[in-house]
Assembly symmetry: C2
Homo-oligomer: 166 residues x 2
């Protein structure tokens, strides 16, 4: 483990943090007032993957505490962008379904961002982006896996600290 590697990793994480920041800002600039990236992320996931996910599934997908997801889903429900219904297979649980309004909002947002995307693709060769994607996936997979295979340290997947035990 060289000093160089350390600088490299800091560099990578630093760029990633700022890109995330800028991407979120840009997304939120196109969302209707009152909605933020967290809300869109849920709508988008429900559409890309599938309707009817449970809040815990969402929390796992985004690596967020389930209390945060509850809050976000609640906000979406209050705006009529999703429906939260009981899970027929598990009476503890619920399922989150998109409404027509939710689907429309997601699609409209993507449409509205098209020029941004086009500008980006015009400025940066998509081949380059395509090239980094596998490395990003590998990096994500490693960190994700390591998180689940780690020692005692508190782990925020389940906020109660119950998770590690088994």
């Amino acid at each position: 483990m060289q000093e160089d590697d350390r600088a490299l990793l800091f560099g990578v994480f630093n760029e990633i943090a700022i890109i995330d920041q800028l991407g979120r800002a840009q997304l939120e600039a196109t969302l209707p007032k009152g909605l933020i990236a967290a809300h869109f992320t849920v709508l988008n996931h429900l559409m890309r993957v599938a309707d009817g996910r449970t809040p815990v599934e969402l929390a796992r997908a985004f690596q967020l505490p389930k209390t945060s997801v509850t809050h976000t889903v609640g906000a979406l429900a209050k705006r009529g962008l999703v429906d939260v219904r009981p899970n027929p297979n598990d009476r503890r649980s619920k399922c989150v379904w998109l409404t027509d309004a939710g689907r429309k909002l997601r699609n409209d947002t993507i449409t509205a961002m098209a020029p941004d995307f086009a500008a980006l693709v015009a400025a940066i060769d998509p081949q380059k982006l395509l090239g980094i994607l596998p490395v990003l996936r590998e990096l994500r997979a490693f960190m994700d896996h390591r998180r689940n295979a780690e020692p005692p340290r508190d782990r925020p997947l389940d906020a109660t600290g119950t998770a590690p035990s088994g």
Copy 2:
């Protein structure tokens, strides 16, 4: 602008968002209780770049609203990790200086993360990371530049919406 490109961009931003999430979680797991990534980021920046930055310079560096930085710096000051002193060149302004405790905390944190870093470098060829870094920089630079060159939309650099005017 192809459908494929859209999926590609979504993929890239999605991975970036989750890597950021996981990286933050890992960093916070090694920080002393009560300190979060935002705090460390400031300490690290002051040490990597230079002491004596003003809050606004920090806000620009991290692409965050200045009110957020005020809050973060205030917390660091209360813990004695930085000193906030008047800016001799500008009586509106202040400068943020590291204390010995602040420097020590930053260094200790990096030391504590060394095994994590080593594991990452062992699992993922550093050459790959080195390879994506320029693309990440390019992506960041593009988004950053575009943000500053953009139309009317509210821009969260200065939260007052004063910024665009000139």
